[in-house]
Symmetry: C2
């Protein structure tokens, strides 16, 4: 059984990949080089895919900078040192327009080529309440679309399922799940704005959420060792 | 009023763009450099966008060859000299997995940046009965998705509409509509497998359908003059 697994190289997508592996899938990991300022995450994705025994790992090069308008791809500063209240007040500038729609579209293309039914995505509705494309209704709508969009689904050879096993979990619960699944946390990368040597800034939303997750789970983050 | 208009440089998308212009939209034309063997269509798209007065035209570079598996991106031969019965018997090898899903995802991203409600796509369900992502139910599902996927839609600032004005037209009807809208047919390019100088092969499905459309419309194709 094959599954396409979206893999950014962060904590969530690594845990999601480990979840798919435990469910018995041969995992085809898919990452994107989309002009992100934190491209070091692609190195993390390579290491995580290898460590978790992905059957294949591809990096699709797509240029999201053609439209601009996000701190992750533009020369807009990544916000730092925000507390949870600030993070939850509206959609952050680090949101990339339609990013998960684009990522899932590519995953769908690869699923069709592989004749895979299952697509894993590590979205999380709780800690990313500001991102519309991390919500269950978005995931359901994409699943519906996927079953109308491809030759293999229309011909009845596949039945697309978008699996988002982390969608209702808190960051601490994701950490605990990852621990149980032996996710190599030390290989993952979450920071939106690492320094030149790849060290996390410790202050962007992603670093703050990760630190909170490990703290609440009561374990040390090995990536910060 | 802004609209994002998918523009391949072919007859259908050019007519679709002209339709959007007549409806009063400022048109933001979007083409893709996706490793297609008929990249000459991008030159056609540039000329068509200029001739029809698009407000902007961007070409997004995305690599669909990362998954392979289509005669349009692979080194598989493009089928030639097929009659309509052959074309309508199943989905052709020139089908690119999830292509319209991917193209619409990028259009959605740009629509969000522009705060545009409308996305035009020149799909046609009749002459491309073999392509699942040219059917009305696919278009409707994408519209639903679009309204769940973006920050601007969720915040109520936009209401995504996927407009496919050609979807129920025959190729001859598209030619007649294009004529009425003063589409510069001579600038458009439809062939899947042009020679090195860009001349259409005259024998691929796209050339055959185009010739049939002009013949049934009773007018000469100025691109073949």
């Amino acid at each position: 059984m094959k599954a396409v697994c979206l893999l950014s190289g962060g904590l969530d997508s690594a845990t999601c990949l480990a979840h798919a592996r435990r469910a018995g899938f041969d995992c085809y990991a898919l990452s994107f080089d989309y002009g992100q300022r934190h491209r070091i995450e692609l190195e993390a994705a390579r290491r995580v895919a290898a460590a978790l025994g992905a059957a294949d790992h591809r990096i699709a090069k797509i240029d999201l900078r053609v439209f601009g308008h996000s701190a992750l791809t533009d020369e807009i500063d990544v916000p730092k040192g925000r507390d949870e209240a600030a993070m939850n007040s509206g959609i952050p500038i680090t949101y990339v327009p339609a990013r998960n729609t684009i990522f899932l579209s590519f995953a769908l293309a690869w699923a069709e080529v592989l004749e895979a039914n299952d697509i894993y995505i590590g979205v999380n509705a709780l800690d990313y309440s500001g991102y519309p494309d991390c919500r269950p209704e978005f995931i359901q709508a994409f699943e519906q679309l996927g079953n109308l969009a491809t030759k293999s689904a229309v011909e009845g050879r596949t039945r697309i399922r978008i699996r988002a096993p982390l969608i209702e979990l808190s960051k601490a619960e994701i950490v605990l799940l990852g621990l149980e699944l032996n996710v190599p946390f030390e290989l993952t990368h979450s920071c939106y704005d690492p320094d030149a040597s790849g060290r996390p800034c410790g202050a962007c939303d992603s670093c703050v959420l990760r630190a909170k997750g490990f703290r609440e789970a009561g374990i040390a983050d090995p990536a910060c060792a």
